[in-house]
């Protein structure tokens, strides 16, 4: 009885390790979207891993594994953000970012990507999740499943957020 239980736990641990090895990118991307600070990001990933391990036995095979992982990691990221109120504001002033980047002479594309990261970090929590999934090229159906809204609504909201981001870029005269 005890031996079986140990074996089962061992097997689960192995499956868990494989799952994380194959999908760690999801956790890193979600953590990057919600935390700019490296220390916070590491803490958040730790909490995500604990939560995934605790929910592992409850995994519903009706959903894709990526859907399941996105749900847990985004839920954790939003809750983590709420819980850690004593953190300093992660959003660096954009002008500072730009000047730093310019000084370092980085490529324009990289500069734009950094700005995109910055603008995304300014979005509301749920909009952040939506655009993260959109940039990951998830289908509207999968985004809808992860977020819990209709697929039609995903399209509308993506359009609005893209407009918002375009506006932010145009404020800095970048097309």
């Amino acid at each position: 009885m005890v031996f079986e239980a140990i074996m089962q736990t061992k097997q689960q641990a192995q499956q868990f390790q494989e799952l994380i090895a194959q999908n760690k990118g999801i956790l890193i991307k979600v953590a990057r979207t919600y935390c700019q600070n490296e220390g916070d990001r590491q803490d958040l990933i730790q909490e995500m891993l604990i939560q995934i391990w605790q929910s592992f036995h409850k995994y519903n095979h009706a959903y894709k594994i990526s859907t399941w992982l996105y749900r847990i990691s985004i839920n954790m990221a939003i809750s983590y953000y709420r819980k850690n109120t004593n953190r300093i504001n992660n959003n660096l002033p954009l002008t500072e970012n730009i000047s730093q980047i310019a000084e370092e002479g980085k490529a324009e594309k990289e500069q734009q990507l950094n700005m995109l990261d910055q603008f995304i970090s300014e979005l509301k929590e749920l909009d952040k999740a939506l655009i993260l999934l959109y940039l990951e090229e998830k289908s509207h159906h999968e985004i809808a499943e992860i977020l819990g809204i209709s697929a039609g609504n995903v399209g509308t909201k993506v359009g609005r957020i893209k407009d918002k981001l375009k506006q932010r870029f145009s404020q800095y005269n970048i097309d």
């Binding site: 929910s55 839920n75 953000y81 709420r82 819980k83 109120t85 004593n86 992860i146 209709s150 909201k157």
Partner: protein
């Protein structure tokens, strides 16, 4: 329900607060129960009813807190984002109710020591002062009961009373709860 896991997920100061609250309510209930059984008619009714109400209000706040903590712990984090966050933020938002209920105790701390002798022999000036204090505390507690809400979060008095970092996540939860409502409204 894995109580041990739930407790280990809570901050030690919160575990201590819950334990202290339970001890207070249990011993308070025994004390008040004994007063009613053995002393009803013999001891001051002010002491009886003030202490009974105080213990009752603490018990309500404690039950609210335990209910909220258990349900937050039990929430299925692998559910959709909107569903999970709505559940969590609604539960967290209810923390303001705990503050409201606890503030209702204020006037009871100004009445429990009243007794027959004071009623008969107390000087007018003393009674004027005493009643003014009780009315003031009653007024404050009722006012706070109706005014501790998200709408007033930026007011000075609100920040003064609930500025502790423990309250900031609650306010953020209320904010997100509204954001979810807007997010769903556009459906």
């Amino acid at each position: 329900m894995k109580v041990q896991t739930l407790l280990s997920s809570m901050k030690p100061v919160k575990v201590f607060a819950v334990i202290a609250g339970i001890v207070w309510v249990v011993f308070g209930s025994i004390f008040v129960g004994k007063l009613f059984i053995d002393g009803f008619g013999k001891i001051s009714p002010w002491l009886l009813f003030s202490s009974a109400l105080q213990v009752l209000l603490t018990a309500i706040a404690l039950l609210l807190y335990i209910y909220q903590t258990v349900h937050i712990y039990q929430a299925d984090i692998s559910d959709s984002i909107v569903e999970t966050q709505k559940k969590l933020t609604t539960l967290q938002s209810s923390s303001l109710w705990i503050a409201r209920v606890l503030f209702l105790q204020l006037p009871l701390w100004t009445t429990f020591y009243w007794n027959k002798e004071m009623m008969q022999n107390g000087r007018t000036g003393w009674w004027v002062f005493q009643i003014a204090i009780t009315l003031l505390f009653a007024g404050i507690s009722i006012w706070l009961f109706f005014n501790i809400n998200y709408k007033n979060k930026d007011k000075k008095w609100f920040k003064f009373i609930l500025s502790d970092k423990e309250w900031k996540p609650v306010l953020k939860a209320i904010e997100l709860n509204k954001e979810i409502a807007d997010f769903k409204e556009n459906n």
